[in-house]
Subunit: 462 residues, 4 copies
């Protein structure tokens, strides 16, 4: 049964412990700094809603062919961030279930039951992975505070009690379920830290401290981020009880990285799609502002826009190649090629700052200094803003100012900063992303090419 | 006679027409969003203040030796932004005076008088250069609105009347004088646009519309930009009368670029100094956060910090080389070598985004998601923030959180975005900056090297 | 009817006027510096040869589906360079014919007849495009010597006489046919320079001056380039008569760029395929030498190899995307998507030098200083070379030395230099390549994204 | 007493065991592939020669002031490579002596005596550092062959016997003395590998296997490398006896890195000077060929040349800053600032490949395909080469061809490849170079800047 936006907003009133700026947020749906986020998610519910008990959202579909995959990816670009996260997270859980089925059929069954549970109630889930981590030189068991990595503090007949914190959890405060998984591979002896489970946001012991880049000033001055923002959750698990049916890993260190790896692929696929779309957006803004300024035929401007086009196109090419070379699991689930997905994700992330530089180079200082819409509406200074912010017939001040505001908002203000960091950090920083790429590469073939070029067979060595 | 900070604040109450968010700012010194800026400038007055009629600030000193230059540059790094602008702007005016003395001794004398006027009253000046510019494909005289470039609309016996707008004028609202100069070389037939002059901010017809990156939320969350910010002025010159003694150019198109060129050098010198200092700041933040996380010995982290060190060091090297190769004017004024100054400025600006990427790559997602100080002080969630934001003995939560807040504030929030754009745009965009470098290069020597390598003398050609 | 390698070699004895180092080459097949090249082409003939009158090489096939295209591209990687050029050149001619059929059916028919002529005789063709070009500031008609662009000097009833030079024509000396086409769009008034035609290499008036990177020393020291090299031809057309049936354009300036544009696509597709393969080769060499040195687990080495993997993978992704998004002509011919093809080509070319740097950084100085095989075989110093060039069990000196020789040959010697220049120049230099990319991009969609992000519809402008 | 060029050539006839292509070179001065190198060195002798017993070359001078340093650096750019190496190597030895004087005055005295010995005989020395190194995973003492790092195999009353190989020793075959030093820091237990000493090239047991990029074809086609090339030596030390007075380190592992560190500074100073000069050379070639083609006013060409200018200028700025901030030893010897020297060296090396790409992008394909001078002189094709390689009045074919030949020779042929590798490898690869930079940086100051920006004092931590 699918929820409406209204039902979603109502569902947030479940006693959840949400904090912002040091204060408890009593009514999440009413908090102004969460308003755009909850409205965005609610509109996602309304957009896909179909009445009827047996209906379920398309974000629960599992692609069965490359064509399915391509279509779902196009849908995904229209979904709100929480719906995307839900789709990716549950696909990842199912992928993990498939990998564990042989040795731990019980966990696999619990995961599948959980998937059906979420699907039948139209719930929204986020993944809770990153631990506090303490001193990065030391493993979980050597930290001076053992809770710096989330761990099982008690095993009971009917479930477990977990303690720790999960960081950087976008939208945690406004979704239904936290899918908790280990932040990295745990080693023998670290069984208490090898824990995966699902926890409702409103469960006792869950507390979420939020930060947000939602604009705190005139929304009009933030044409993009006032519509598209999400709170970032610092999720505290203060001795939270998890019943057995929601425990998906409990000490089996050999599977401790399975969840995060499964998630990584789907996350990076979505990430690459957003990067490609974001690349095209930067190109579009660059071209629009160049035209508004009358600069679109200047050689170095064209050259920079062409570089941006190559960036957007190559990121998209990685996606296209990942789909054209999709693989199929024994269950018949189709997933994108990991090498192409990851290469596109890394490239898109690594070059993003340079593309922002190009956009700033093309657009000029009015990105920062374009007056506000209130200035334009002022009877005292509005006529001057109108007179001097226009450039020519067909380019009135308001149009051009809104372009500048959008460029600032998207690339040179709070949301822009959030983007810069997120690009690099989603996927674990550039170094980690490179290692993932290398893992999926056919190095044997490359070495054969090298040997052949050197006139060797490889048998000379060894 | 030097002013105190208090006197400076009082001096702003001169009837000036200042606007913010569409509203007239009645009391500039009392406007909360200008408060940090005026406090910063006032503290600059207090820091250098010496009583006595004959005293003048060191920012009016003209360097007479490379050693002077080096010392002034070090002083400059401690000055507030408006004092820096004043020093650079007046030095630039004097440089322009020197170049015009032969043909237009009257203008030269007016400039020197004006310099003494500012010095004796301890005034702060900003340069007003960039025009609205309209359609960049067309010159001033072909725009559909002739005011899109600031121009003389009336010539009277006792002065001129100017009309137009000057954009991106940092601190215009809180200084005393606008030094107006043409935005580019004007050609014969564009005499009306070849105008340079000085205008008090409070003069009738001057209206300044402001934008600002001053934080609109809890200051503590913005440890840097809450202390160091400046309003950006959109300066309207609505038929402003300028008496003859403040007119420094009035139709002599052949000198229309002299002012901006003179300014460019001093501005880029200061810019390079700030870039070098800013580079060291990024290195310091990267090292501090790596240590706080326990990552300072990881190979790829060390490698990235080393790249940042090279960036900061090379930018500084350009500065050192510019001073070591300083030149002297016939007046005995010492100015930095233009080639080295400009090369350092361009390099520092072009690579800045990459250094920000390195810092984000090293620091991790908590740049964005570190809870606020209010969260830390909360009795409900504070203990959890304390527990999970610390990493080890010696790295308590508050210390680490403040580092994250500083990194976000400086590189991934409103001020960070302002920096990204300003780096690129000060100096006119990267393409313009490159052309300036090329202009000052000894190409003949390079060509001789090329010819010699080819076994040629050069006489084979021609 | 298909030729054998032997028949191909014999076919070169047709009186052609070939020069090398200022000397006429009397017997092309016997010239030592052409020997590897002709052997390479001959081996291509032998590899595909099928007896029988009706047989034709697969390089004359026209892809009719994306799958065909993918298969042909894989075949292409195994073909010799001249066969590749033949396939690309004739496909390009047919593409041009298709575009001209509506207005100039006669030219279209001549081209199709010529295609059948080449196919039935198994001829190898190269494209002759680049003119001498003289002073790049001036168009063909304004040069002080009108022959600096190839032109028609006489129109006869039975054909035309052409004069000029065509530069950078790889393999011209050892193929059968020159497919001559204009180097750029000609304008009205430049009818004499709007000429396309086919000329046998042995035709009277054709003279080809050659340069080559074929090694002039011990072949063993050049394990790659001693097998894979091609002479570069400076082709002089000294009043060459071309009969009407081989004239494909004769003054119709509106089609003067059609040939080069048609060729560009196929050339860049092949170029991208070779870049992707070349990227994998660089990765393979880097990994092999890192392993031979015992460095394969060092963090910064792994990091650089991962960067190289991303390079190779993204270049290949462009190719995969171009095929997955292939287009079909009215004739039913399938061609790759131009945007993805060109973006991949540009990226691969622009980053190639950096990948070479990575390889050199990983491999170390022995790339240059590894002794020769003759040193290894010397009774006096061989044992020392053997002793000190090995690194561990399984990595004997000879194996490691051959790897170093291959890396030097491919990236740091004559062939390596040829690669560096060719990467950049094929496609007309990076600036030209960027403009081609921009031409094929869906800018309207990007602008819609930009407008939507700014909260605009686009109707505010205009 | 100073030698003449003739005396130098004669001095090479000392029974030295030199090999090339597997053959013993009986007469080094007569070997064609060494001819340019020995002529270059001999001309260096002649250029500085002053008769008289007490005279000594300026390359033995020790700078006593920053001004001395600057002057010596300018001289250095005019010296042959072996003279440069001699000056750097002996300064490095003296620096090491100064560091060891306190604890090992005997070694210090031997080094000073050796310095006087070389100076009084006008000898040329090269440093022999890099060992064979075997499996890089293992230290010297764990290699399966202990000789893979040069070591003491016997200690006698009158001296020691050393065994091993030293690789990448430029000019070893044509100089007088090998200054042997450890390739890296040795640890306790590795005393046998902690050896530094001086060995005459002609000493029994020294065998040198050579590679060379000296052109093996028509010299005219290699206008630069036919004049400036050096053999690279693979130096075998086959149980070479070294008398005590030439032993500078013999088991004192704590000083094992002192020699290489001392050398590093001087080498990188010279390296940076050559990089700066080489940067200007690339700029000159780019401008000359752009002018010869008529492209010098095209926007993207100007832009690329400006980027090259910034490269050359910043490299030079590092040098200028290193001299302006020179330091003085207790002995009164002046040496350049290490931070600036190393930062300039790294930057120059890391960006070199990109500058080569720019040059190739600007120059076009004729870099590779310009016919030879023999073609130009041919009566059959010479007139055509003359006609089509010229571009306009004042740019005759020969002039333009020679420019292309020089660009190919310097950047896209054997010497060009040697440059690419050498840039990266001298200084130990880019990673090592970065670490050296980081070592000399004032990190405490940078951290203070970071703390201040965050509003911290640093006492919050700890």
């Amino acid at each position: 049964m699918m929820m409406t936006g209204k039902q979603y907003l109502d569902s947030l009133d479940d006693g959840r412990q949400i904090y912002l700026d040091g204060q408890r947020v009593d009514d999440v749906a009413a908090e102004p700094l969460f308003e755009a986020a909850t409205r965005w998610v609610a509109s996602g519910y309304d957009a896909t809603h179909r009445p009827g008990d047996g209906e379920a959202g398309p974000y629960y579909d599992i692609p069965g062919s490359p064509q399915d995959l391509r279509e779902q990816l196009e849908l995904l670009l229209g979904w709100d961030m929480v719906t995307v996260t839900t789709a990716q997270g549950l696909l990842a859980l199912l992928t993990a279930a498939a990998r564990m089925r042989g040795t731990h059929p019980g966990y696999a069954r619990r995961i599948e039951d959980y998937f059906e549970y979420c699907k039948s109630r139209d719930l929204r889930c986020v993944q809770a992975i990153t631990d506090a981590k303490g001193n990065r030189k030391l493993p979980p068991s050597k930290q001076d505070d053992p809770d710096l990595y989330t761990r099982i503090v008690e095993r009971r007949p009917d479930g477990i009690v977990v303690r720790g914190a999960k960081l950087h959890i976008s939208a945690a405060a406004i979704c239904h379920e936290l899918v908790v998984m280990p932040t990295k591979m745990m080693k023998p002896g670290e069984e208490d830290w090898a824990v995966a489970c699902a926890i409702p946001v409103g469960a006792p012991g869950v507390k979420i401290v939020n930060t947000t880049y939602a604009p705190r000033a005139e929304e009009e001055h933030f044409p993009y981020s006032s519509r598209y923002n999400m709170p970032e959750g610092f999720v505290v698990l203060d001795d939270v009880f998890v019943p057995n049916e929601r425990v998906f890993l409990c000490g089996e260190t050999e599977y401790s990285a399975t969840f995060a790896h499964s998630l990584g692929l789907w996350e990076r696929l979505g990430g690459s799609a957003h990067l490609a779309e974001g690349g095209d957006l930067l190109v579009g803004l660059a071209q629009l502002i160049a035209e508004a300024n009358g600069l679109e035929r200047v050689a170095h401007i064209k050259d920079k826009i062409a570089e941006m086009i190559i960036y957007a196109t190559l990121t998209r090419a990685g996606l296209e190649a990942a789909i054209a070379n999709a693989k199929t699991t024994p269950e018949g689930w189709v997933y994108p090629d990991e090498l192409f997905t990851n290469a596109a994700k890394h490239y898109g992330a690594a070059e993003f700052n340079l593309m922002v530089r190009h956009l700033h180079d093309i657009a000029g200082g009015a990105v920062l200094t374009a007056p506000s819409m209130n200035d334009l509406r002022s009877s005292e200074v509005g006529p001057f803003v109108e007179k001097y912010m226009r450039t020519m017939d067909g380019v009135p001040a308001e149009y051009r100012m809104r372009l500048f505001h959008a460029i600032r908002d998207i690339t040179a203000d709070a949301y822009g900063g959030w983007q810069l960091v997120t690009m690099i950090q989603s996927g674990g920083g550039l170094y980690a992303q490179r290692l993932v790429v290398a893992k999926h590469y056919d190095m044997d073939r490359a070495k054969r090419l090298g040997l052949a070029a050197a006139g060797l067979t490889g048998e000379e060595a060894g």
